[in-house]
Amino acid sequence: MISNREKIKSLSLSALLCSVALILSYLESLVPPFFPIPAIKVGLPNLVIIFALYKLGFGYAVTVSVLRVFLSSLLFGSLLSAAYGTAGALISLLIMFLLEKLNCFTAVGVSIAGGVSHNIAQTLLAMIIMNTNEIAYYLPFLLLSGVVAGALIGVGGAFIIKKINIKERFF
C-alpha cells in the first residue's frame, strides 16, 4: 500500500512539473510561427518531460505530458490541436521510454528520436484527418526540425537532469 504521504507527494510533484510545462507552453505560444509549415517549433515543455522521464520514471512523464497537452490546447489552442498534440506526445514518449530502457543512447539521442517521432506521428495523423497524402511533401523539413529541436531539448534536458536532484529535495 502506498501511504497517504507518498500519494500527496507524488500528486504535488506532478502538479508542479505540469505547471512548469504549461508555463513553457505559454512562453512558446507567444512566439509567432515564422515558418510556412505547421508544427515547426522547439517544444520547450519537453524539457520537463525528458526530466520527468529520466528522474522519476515513465508514470510521471506520461501524466505530466498528457495533462500538459490537454490543458495547453484548452488554454492556447483548439480541440484539433489537442488531437495532434496528444498523438505526437504519446508516440514520442513511448519511443523515448523504449530507447532510454535500451540504454544505448545519451539523453540527447533519446530526445532527438523523440522530436523526430513526434513530427512523424503528427504528419501521419494529419494525413489521416485530412484524408490526403500530399502532406508527405513536408516530411524532410519535419525530420530536420525534429532533429534540431530534439538536440536542443536534449542538451538542455541533460543539463537539468545532472543539476537538479529532485528526489533528494522532494522525498
Binding site: E134, L143, G146
Partner: protein, 125 residues
C-alpha cells in the same frame, strides 16, 4: 574507445542522427525529382475533391472551409492563397506553388490546394 560506455552512447547518437538526416535528404531529393511544373490545381476539402482549375487561366476562387474561407488566386501559371480568415495564415505564407505535388494546406479549414500534373491528373505521392 569502445570500452567506455559514454563514448559508445555518443557514437550511437551520431549514427542515429546521421541516419535520420540521410532519410530526410533522400525524401527531399525524391520530392524534387518528381516535381515538374503541373497543369492543374486540385482543391480538396476534408479529403473530397471540390474543384480543379487549370494553371493556364487566371482565376479567383473563394473556397469555403470548415471554419471560414480561403481565397485562391491563379495568376501567370502559379497558384497561391491570397487571403484567409483562419488564425495562423500558414496557407497564405506558403506562397506561390506551381510544381507537381506542391500543396498549400489550411489545417483549421481542412482545405488543401495541390498542384497536379497535366494528363495523369495525379502526382504519385
Amino acid at each position: 574507445m569502445e570500452r567506455n560506455p559514454k563514448q559508445r552512447k555518443i557514437k550511437n547518437d551520431i549514427i542515429l542522427t546521421a541516419s535520420i538526416l540521410i532519410v530526410a535528404v533522400v525524401v527531399f531529393v525524391a520530392v524534387l525529382f518528381v516535381s515538374q511544373k503541373g497543369g492543374y490545381v486540385e482543391v480538396k476539402k476534408d479529403g473530397e475533391i471540390i474543384g480543379k482549375y487549370p494553371l493556364s487561366t487566371n482565376v479567383t476562387v473563394e473556397i469555403s472551409g470548415s471554419i471560414g474561407y480561403n481565397l485562391l488566386m491563379i495568376e501567370d501559371g502559379e497558384a497561391y492563397i491570397k487571403s484567409a480568415d483562419c488564425p495562423d495564415k500558414l496557407c497564405v505564407k506558403r506562397g506561390k506553388i506551381d510544381k507537381n505535388g506542391e500543396t498549400a494546406v489550411c489545417l483549421p479549414n481542412k482545405v488543401t490546394v495541390t498542384v497536379i500534373g497535366g494528363k495523369e491528373g495525379k502526382s504519385d505521392f
